[in-house]
Symmetry: C2
């Protein structure tokens, strides 16, 4: 058995059975092993930004790592942006990066690259398997590292000769550490803080945003009067009718400061102290009052749900939790897009049990707050700020959550970063309805330029305006085998979106705004 | 004056007047400075792979560095692949990478990234300008570094506060070192080797592939009987009627070994000893006989053209050089694509003084050898093996060589990596005719898999076949505002290509093969 085959067999033994890939010559023996060993689903992305984002979305929905297969330094480089988003989401993910044969590196061939150095900038764990006999062991370590709470990016560099030489040994899975249980004394301390009745925010992130965590948190809030709020970026949050309505810390500084105004205590559950996305001259980096006290109920690697449930019990909280009213019936809005009108409409259109993937930026920021009364769904958000997230993430999410409708909300600027994901949706026949918010500009940057007090001139017009010429998303989607429609008014959107959700397979709606 | 303005003014003082960009929030003060200070041409790329490739093509044609403007670690990450190609081409290039304000990094905001660590993997020179008063100086150093022969990638990381704070100082340009002149004794030594009459190859790379270098090399070859050959990857080579016909070292191992069979001496001119692109089990890494002697006439940072001219004089070489016969007239080929028929046709179609950019991979490898009799032109080739090169490079080349027709030869697989470049061509009204060689598969990988002795199975079929569904390049191009036509037979290609070359502006031809 060569190293490549031991790798495939070890990944399968570790329950890694999905591989998002764009291979090259140095990965040929790995591909041959995939041919020879049944059981690995291989999904091609037409650029590695798609590959990385797919693995992120897959992990968010399936809860387990996919493998990526990337070609040398440049292949990994193309994946960096969405791997960064995945790293920030704390999902488990195993990158297999093929590289030149060990002895060939010294000749400095054209694709020679410091792959380990590159991988370290976006990974929690990096190793190179230089011996075929060690490949399996390294792969098992990589999967264990990826599954170490709260989830890590593990990158295994695989030189071609370690792949093709005989001597491969299949390794047994290595059990990852479990999440640590939070000590009862910590829970008691937090309960005492909450009982004081001082203005308190419970900041929820990571796994506390699942349905069980949210219910426990809501019980705590009802019993204590504390306010629940989610981190500004969420990997995945359970939402909709029958579930607690928890908003996020706003992106913009002023509303974020408003949320934390007068707060005495911040209880952190799978969350770091909330910071501004960017710094601005003369403005604070953190959005909470400097005099407020920070208390950690459960860290990222701890059992956040268990801690919240313990806390609810200590507070003798009622089991019953409030949830938002269902979306109102009545006439759908008409006319041109506004965030408010679209949000109210979208609340009523989200399909039952849908997965919503959000990289809608300026067009979509208000959608979250307008959709608490929708049918139950999960919401996945860009976590690392590297745009070009939603199309690939939605693609991977559809593979990680078969049978669920995926709704992808993508701003046009970010969409152009990884539009190739639509082709993968077409090939795999994935149930993804994509909404492109086509404002034909980097609207966020226009706002940011104003915020720094500058007068927009020719350069900023050239750099923020992505019209001239306008992108035609219907043609772009059709060019990759995905059906598409353009809509200019809200009433058309409702019709087209409902029809798209009622059928199978991918569909793109260009919403002109 | 803030740091950003000192940066713009220093770049302009250093004759860097073109900026390929995709900015984000941390670059807003730089954009504001671009608005305030006239003289910098700003060209937007809808993803950073486009930005990096444009800067490469621009430098290859203009001979001077462009700036790129990239947003934080992920923005740089997206550019890595084409920056790697640029690094391997040894072009001058200055990356400006915006980053968080220095004091904001400690809060670990979502976009926090080890930008310097990432930049080091693809740059010859990396600095972070943390003080506004040092930004100008650092920019001048970056340009000097970029222009240091044979050309370097210089990356300047610009934290937002260094950009927005007052205290900027415009720096004077720093003269880069000149190429060293090769010592006459070296030239005499090489002349003695050549006079022995033993089988000798002169391997030409870098600036020796310009018209002057090639003419001098051809004189040397005629006087000595040595064979000229170019490196397997060329940044830019002057070709066509009236110019010496120099072929490249073949990509594939067997024909490359054939070229060097029985060779006693290899004279290196701006070239490293030729190595295989990839290693294969049991095959050599280098393509020349181990017993052959390597002689360096001029290293990468030396005056290669001057050395060749000195050598020609020492050999008392005739001034007159042979050049290939002009392409034959007669009926154009008809029917389906074959590399030979297409090559013979393409030789007659290349416009006078065109710039040909080649990332055609399997479909295009034979075109080089079939086009020596074309009208005079320059040929630019992918140098680092990171696919997705030709569309961005052609875009930048058109900006770097105004008034010249650019012909872009792009394989469909690689084309999908950076198709967004077509939009920049449309916006800028660039004279680029792109030929997409649509074989709807990663044909190179099918060949490589066979080469490793594997039997193609389900996984390799899923990973090498980029049909299912077929890409429609006409719609993809039109979706970005570029006119396009599909052709299935050679006679149609000739008509459509000639018409596209006769008009202004970008055009895409999908050649189904």
């Amino acid at each position: 058995m060569n190293g490549a085959e031991s790798l495939v067999r070890t990944l399968l033994a570790c329950e890694v059975d999905t591989c998002f890939a764009n291979p090259g010559t140095s990965e040929m023996h790995f591909v041959a092993a995939l041919d020879a060993v049944p059981g690995m689903r291989c999904v091609l992305g037409l650029a590695e930004g798609v590959v990385g984002g797919c693995a992120d979305g897959y992990a968010r929905m399936s809860g387990k790592p996919a493998a990526t297969l990337l070609h040398c330094g440049p292949g990994l480089g193309n994946a960096i942006a969405n791997l960064h988003n995945a790293k920030r989401a704390r999902v488990p993910l195993v990158n297999i990066v093929g590289d030149h044969a060990t002895y060939h590196q010294a000749f400095d061939p054209p694709l020679a690259y410091d792959v380990e150095g590159l991988a370290r900038t976006v990974s929690h764990w990096v190793r190179t398997a230089t011996q075929p006999g060690r490949v399996g062991e390294r792969a098992a370590q990589a999967v264990c590292s990826a599954r170490t709470p709260p989830g890590q990016i593990a990158t295994l560099v695989l030189p071609a000769d370690a792949s093709w030489l005989e001597g491969g040994v299949v390794a047994d899975p290595i059990a990852p550490p479990r999440r640590n249980t939070v000590d009862a004394s910590i829970v008691d301390d937090i309960a005492r803080v909450l009982r004081r009745g001082e203005r308190t925010i419970v900041l929820l992130g990571d796994e506390s945003l699942g349905e069980r965590g949210l219910v426990a948190a809501q019980r705590v809030a009802q019993a204590s009067g504390a306010t629940l709020i989610a981190t500004p970026q969420v990997r995945r949050i359970a939402r909709g009718r029958g579930r607690p309505a928890v908003n996020r810390v706003p992106y913009a500084l002023e509303p974020a400061l408003k949320v934390f105004e007068g707060v005495r205590h911040i209880v952190l559950v799978g969350a770091k102290p909330p910071v501004q996305f960017f710094a601005y001259p003369g403005k604070p980096s953190v959005v909470y009052p400097p005099e407020s006290e920070l208390h950690t109920l459960a860290a990222l690697d701890e059992d956040q749900v268990g801690a919240l449930e313990m806390l609810a019990e200590v507070l003798s909280a009622a089991k019953q939790v409030a949830s938002p009213p269902a979306a109102r019936d009545g006439a759908m809005p008409r006319g041109a897009f506004t965030p408010e009108a679209f949000g109210g409409m979208f609340e009523r259109l989200i399909p039952e049990d849908a997965v919503v993937v959000d990289d809608a930026v300026t067009s979509g920021r208000q959608l979250f707050g307008h959709t608490f009364g929708a049918a139950p769904h999960d919401w996945l958000q860009i976590t690392g700020g590297a745009i070009g997230f939603a199309l690939p993430c939605a693609t991977g999410a559809a593979i990680g959550a078969p049978g669920r409708k995926v709704v992808c909300l993508q701003a046009d600027g970010g969409g152009m970063y990884s539009l190739q994901a639509l082709w993968t949706q077409a090939r795999e026949g994935l149930d993804v309805v994509t909404v492109i918010f086509a404002n034909r500009r980097y609207a966020i940057l226009q706002g940011e330029l104003m915020a720094v007090g500058a007068t927009p001139g020719r350069a900023s017009k050239d750099l923020f305006d992505i019209g001239r010429p306008d992108l035609d998303w219907v043609k772009l989607a059709q060019g990759m085998g995905v059906e598409a429609r353009r809509v200019d008014v809200l009433e058309d959107f409702a019709d087209v979106f409902s029809a798209a959700c009622a059928r199978r397979g991918p569909f793109v709606i260009e919403m002109r705004i």
